[in-house]
Symmetry: C2
Subunit: 298 residues, 2 copies
């Protein structure tokens, strides 16, 4: 479980750390970027620094959001770390889409634990993100004293496939109070009902659709009690080319009706915005404030 | 001189416009990105909106800085437009480095008017950036009323090769008061004296080094009167791999000694920062404030 620091560079008031480690979940080397905010480097700052996990969308590596989402000044403002995991296992021997499309396989792990051959060997992104990675980071960065809290006072967000991944991970772990808050940018809220999700779930989980529902936010909403009266913050651009056919934010509002989530899902339509990092970076400040409150920073 | 709008998308409070036009300077189609800040879309805002020109570095297209430098929130904060020109002519028939290296030819126009074959036909980036482009933009965007001032109340900045281009353009046009202010991120301050500049200038301008000096900020400083008592703001990262051999910021301080620029060049060494957009985006807020003052916005 040893970590290799590949690069460490100054960014805003803190440092972006690009690292890799051998994962027991995926049986591959995994790349991760971490932003440690200025508070981490301030010896007078003694309180543990909470962490926001950011799950990226299809085709992304940890680099895209690190460079383009611009979480760093917000992380400095409130004092939280940001973790940018990869979107799938990679490397020699990792099966991918036979047709090499961009919406399945490498770069498109969909944050599930695959059960189907040939993906079952490496595609365990659910366990990787929600179970293994936080512990690996805690072990590495907190050998001496607990400066960054990667496991307890944490929140989660993500974009598109990663927005779905954040919602699913938050809801599946709500009884353990694993994540203090969850938000999403242009998430695939109902993967079982759209082409992206159908392709991914049938490939990774097989034809039995009951297994799909365990990862589908619209199903999880129905069977998960909103025990802490949480709000889910979601932004979607009105010019997002995937809005109508893949994202369908209205489905999660519909699913929440009559549940403890009714009126607790704050879907904000952002007029004129598309699916890009121009959209994400614009609303990152609002999401940062949302999570900072839940993490006790304001 | 007609402009084609290729894409227009919401970003922060304004819009990023990706356009192209046939250039009479380069005899090619040129791509340009423009950020129009939120004030442009506010009908109650009647004052003309000033413009900041951002010249990119080697290998960049207008996309890199648009996505990664994060000028947009600063442009909204103060109310200026940002123009991101390309770094060279491109396309069929445009000569490039016979060895296809990344530091000469396409993506590396060095903001000069080439005099040498085969580059003389297309490589007129100096005229393009400082003369043609502002007029083209003014003609297109200000047909009805002058909402954006692309030609008079303007400032200039840039990164690396573009930082050199900004300094050279500012100094060469100082007697016309063309640019209200100039700043640079990791600029090549003394291109005649470093490998990048020697390669570019010998290729574009030939072996007579007296022609090189007309574009070299360290030479221009010596023969240009600081008529408005301007400050030049420069940031360079201490971990910039090009600091010692290509950037040499100390050379412009040395050149300024005994001139009207002495103590007017504010070279700030940024500890731990490299040459990347992580460096640029970190100091964009400080440069934005600097230019906003010169443009009369604060």
């Amino acid at each position: 479980m040893s970590i290799t620091i590949n690069k460490e560079l100054a960014s805003c008031g803190g440092r972006l750390i690009k690292l890799s480690h051998e994962s027991i979940s995926t049986h591959t080397k995994m790349d991760v970027n971490i932003y440690l905010p200025k508070q981490f480097y301030d010896d007078t700052h003694s309180a543990p620094i909470p962490t926001l996990y950011y799950l990226s969308g299809l085709t992304c590596s940890p680099e895209n959001a690190s460079e383009k989402a611009f979480w760093q000044p917000q992380a400095d403002k409130y004092g939280f770390a940001v973790v940018f995991p990869d979107t799938s296992p990679r490397g020699e021997g990792v099966a991918t889409d036979p047709e090499n499309s961009w919406d399945f396989g490498i770069g498109a792990g969909f944050y599930v634990n695959a059960t189907e051959s040939p993906y079952v060997k490496h595609y365990h992104m659910y366990d990787y993100v929600h179970k293994e990675l936080p512990v690996v980071l805690n072990d590495h960065f907190n050998k001496a004293s607990k400066r960054v809290d990667f496991t307890e006072n944490i929140s989660i967000t993500g974009h598109s496939m990663g927005g779905y991944g954040a919602l699913a991970g938050f809801l599946r772990n709500i009884s353990d109070n694993k994540y203090k808050s969850c938000s999403a940018f242009a998430p695939i809220v109902n993967p079982s009902a759209v082409l992206w999700g159908e392709k991914a779930f049938s490939g990774y989980l097989g034809s039995d659709k009951s297994t799909w529902l365990e990862y589908d936010p619209c199903e999880l909403i129905k069977k998960t009690e909103n025990i802490k009266n949480s709000i889910l913050l979601i932004h979607v651009g009105t010019n997002d080319p995937f809005l109508k056919n893949q994202l369908k934010p209205e489905n999660i509002l519909e699913a929440s009706k009559g549940t403890s989530w009714e009126n607790k899902i704050d879907v904000k339509l952002a007029v004129g915005f598309d699916h890009s990092y121009y959209f994400i970076s614009t609303f990152v400040p609002e999401h940062a404030e949302f999570h900072a409150k839940a993490l006790g920073l304001i």
